[in-house]
């Protein structure tokens, strides 16, 4: 005989399954967060994304032809440090700041996040201005497009500083001062440090020096091949054609068509994959929220025009537009991000529009309106937080599809030429022959990353869906 609790009728008991015994956090977000973290899909997905982030940050530490330190011709030097690019430096320093900030437990999460964002954008802005300066010095007339991009980046950086600093001030006067000083110190040091690697890198010099016994000792990264090290010396040194070698111990994933190490290229390619996913989706979400919000709030003819815009952009296949833009404007990573973002806002806009159409009739919105709250504040302070959570789900799928798009473009031969990318490696797989490393690893990397973001998205959707609670 079973123990009979006062029997709830079946079907209409929205009781949380496992959570019934432990006390749930009160807030909706908190509950959603707990349900999200409780799912294996979310854990696996997030674990993979974190792995990718680590790979992206530490790529030069993991795979580089340059020895960390070596003693050649009686001199001790660090070619690795000399060849560190501005991007490498920004990423590493930013990561280091994040780690340091993790220690300050007493400061609120928001303040730490703000401080980190501020420091990173400061670093990025410094790096951007520095690159712009060098670019202007080297080629004064050529490349207004690149300078434009850099100026925009600088402006974004400055904007971020202006926006973020007031939030960081929540941490208190002394903390603010400390953060500001540390930031200026790092930034200034960064400016004066020479983070401009020589333009022409001869990767084979280290192997040649070693072969000529000019080197006393050297400390090499775990994988001693840079992504663009095509082993030009291999033919003369060992008599082996370095191109399309199947996986071996020295090259765990083999080499590609040009003779570069596939694993090294794969590690460095995580940067493009992550950057394109986050930035493109960021642009798309921002645009979508803005346009969808305006459509939903004003309704009427704004909505009508907006819907035509939505139709237009959903009728153009993004990848076709991208192919065209790459063909007509040249290969440019930033442009690619912007385009994926600019064409991808439709989904978010439709969602936010529907949500805002509902919300604008709510009493509290009417009340805010009646109080003379400015439109900006009504839209983004009062309405947005109530309709935005499910957008995160869409954004997670959006990141996955942006990564897919980039790899497809690279696969079609429209990606960046020198920079390594998974799609470009996969493209070579068609001609790989015995090099099965090319057939499997880049594809697997794309698949796992897309899968991870999809898992995270699914988990978020399930966590947000009250029906899935049991």
């Amino acid at each position: 005989m079973t123990k009979s609790t006062p029997a709830p009728a079946p079907g209409n008991s929205p009781q949380n399954g496992g959570g019934a015994t432990k006390p749930l956090p009160r807030s909706f977000i908190g509950q959603v967060g707990m349900r999200f973290a409780g799912q294996w899909g979310a854990r696996v997905g997030l674990a993979w994304v974190v792995t990718l982030v680590l790979l992206a940050v530490f790529a030069p530490l993991l795979a580089s032809s340059h020895p960390f330190v070596w003693k050649a011709d009686g001199e001790v030097s660090s070619p690795w440090l000399e060849h560190l690019t501005a991007v490498d430096a920004v990423l590493l320093l930013s990561f280091a700041t994040a780690m340091v900030l993790l220690i300050f437990r007493r400061v609120s999460v928001g303040a730490r996040l703000a401080a980190w964002a501020w420091l990173t954008s400061l670093l990025a802005a410094v790096a951007a201005t520095r690159s712009a300066q060098q670019l202007l010095e080297s080629q004064a007339d050529d490349g207004p497009g690149l300078v434009f991009v850099l100026v925009v980046l600088m402006l974004i950086g400055l904007g971020a500083i202006l926006v973020v600093l007031p939030i960081a001030s929540a941490a208190g006067g002394r903390a603010k001062l400390t953060v500001g000083l540390v930031g200026l110190l790092i930034g200034g040091g960064f400016w004066f440090a020479d983070v401009s690697p020589p333009a022409n890198v001869v990767y084979s010099q280290y192997r040649e020096a070693a072969a000529a016994e000019r080197v006393d000792w050297m400390v090499l990264p775990p994988l001693a091949y840079s992504p663009n090290d095509y082993q030009r010396d291999a033919m003369s040194a060992t008599g082996v054609d370095p191109r399309l070698l199947p996986p071996t111990l020295t090259h765990p994933m083999g080499t590609d068509e040009g003779g570069a190490d596939v694993l090294s290229r794969m590690i460095h390619a995580t940067r493009i994959a992550l950057a394109i996913g986050l930035i493109a989706t960021g642009i798309a979400v921002a645009l979508g929220i803005l346009i969808g919000g305006l459509m939903g709030y004003f309704a009427g003819w704004v909505d009508l025009i907006g819907m035509r815009l939505v139709e237009i952009f959903s009728a153009i296949p993004v990848i076709f537009l991208l192919i065209m833009i790459v063909a007509f404007y040249g290969r440019n990573l930033y442009l690619m991000m912007v385009i994926i973002g600019v064409t991808g806002w439709v989904g978010y806009a439709i969602f936010i529009r529907a949500e805002f159409l509902k919300l604008r009739r709510m009493d509290y919105v009417q009340a805010a309106h009646a109080c003379g709250t400015p439109l900006w504040s009504i839209l983004f302070k009062h309405m947005l937080p109530n309709g935005v959570t499910p957008v995160l789900v869409l954004a997670s799928f959006g990141i996955a599809s942006a990564i897919l798009t980039e790899s497809t473009l690279s696969f079609l031969g429209l990606g960046l030429v020198e920079e390594p990318s998974w799609g470009q490696l996969l493209n070579q797989a068609r001609r790989a022959g015995d090099q099965w490393g090319l057939t499997w690893f880049p594809g697997l990397a794309i698949f796992l990353t897309v899968f991870a973001y999809n898992l995270v998205g699914e988990a978020m959707r399930d966590a947000l869906d009250p029906r899935s609670a049991d």
């Binding site: 139709e311 009728a315 153009i316 296949p317 990848i319 192919i323 007509f328």
Partner: protein
Amino acid sequence: MLSYILRRLLLLFPTLLGVLAVVFFVMAFSPGGFGGTSLNAEGAQTEGEDARRAQKALERRYGLDLPKAAQFGRWLNQVSPIGFRMSGDLKLSEEERAEVEAVFAGQPYAARDAELSRLRLIVETIAGYTDQEPLELAERLRADLEQPAAVLDYFSEIDASLSESETAELIASVDGLKEADGSEGDLLRVQKKLLQVLAFEASGRSRIRYDRPAFKAPDLGQTLRGRDVGELLLERVPVTLLLNLLAIPLIYVVAITSGLYAARHKGGWFDVGSGAAFLGLWSVPTIWAGVLLITYFANEQYLRWFPAAGLHDLQASGMAFLPSWNEGGFERGWLLDTLWHLVLPVLCMVYGGFAVMSKVMRGAMLDNLSADFVRTARAKGVAEGGVLWRHAFRNSVLPLITMVSGILPALFVGSFVVETIFSINGLGKLGVEAAFQKDRELVMATTLIGGLLGLTSELIRDLCYAIADPRVSYD
């Protein structure tokens, strides 16, 4: 209902116009412009004087000297079935023809009919080219032909670019004409040259003639290599349609069956297994799937079960339609050959689709199986089969209908990739090639077809939905 369709059709045009405008201006504002990689008629890269000439011809062909908005208007006019006539469409009327003939009548070099008709052609061409009255033009040309220097001036006036060698040749031959005074052989050569030059220049449809707008054949223009775009599309579109028409029913059949089965046996091995498998399958990039399929199923090294590229064997055109046995043993025939070539590409196109759709189907089925109206149906005594199909399934189809429009353009995009991987000459591959070559007419035509496909599928989706769901009103 009818007014609903009409209204939707009317709304379709501004959207299509918007799509075309976006694509057009993206191209128009690009730093290189159209046909930046100047190709000559043979498709080879040209240099020097030839390149300049070709570039000039391109400019005139596309009206690149016009403001960008006017260029777009010009293209729209060219494509639209109603519009202003363009020079290429110009044909002299019978009266005009007679007038022109009258001008040339009695001229010594126009004694022969063939010569006369050639001259007439010149007049027609130039008349269309410069918006001049044919009669004036004929008189002027007759006068000019007696003064070779004036002919050259004339060419410079209409901005026909001749290479230096051609200019010399032309001068020489026209000079020869004067000296010989009536020697027809040289005159013939001059006129031939004239015709060649003019025909080349005019092939790029120049200005629009602003008569009254009239019905005309819509013209998608010519590719940079001089092929008719319409013809090319007629060749390519059926291939893409074939791929999609095979893929869509396959997606639906698999998605519906597996979704239904998973929903009926919720929590069973199939439900759990297919749920995980489909989420994974959904994330497999098409490019990787394509590469894997080609590497392992169409490769001498592993399994050579399927062909790696193309839509037909080389000998396919010689095959009978149906499979047959003859002296050479079994011959698979055209149909089977095509299907054999289609297995891998279609597989590549469908797996993502049915992963998504089957998830949707399962969710909808589960929702509906626990819906109140299903309980009502059971209470009425409807058998389990009727409950499943007539009540739950009928309602679960609705979200699938909504997804058709999502899937059609997606398949169109998917076919870009699949067609490129499997070297199938379809619309998608054509679009990629067009973009690579910066071929404006081709890009615009692909966009037009693609956009039409997408928008019509949306329209069909809405109509299907309106038919399937009585709650949707037509207003």
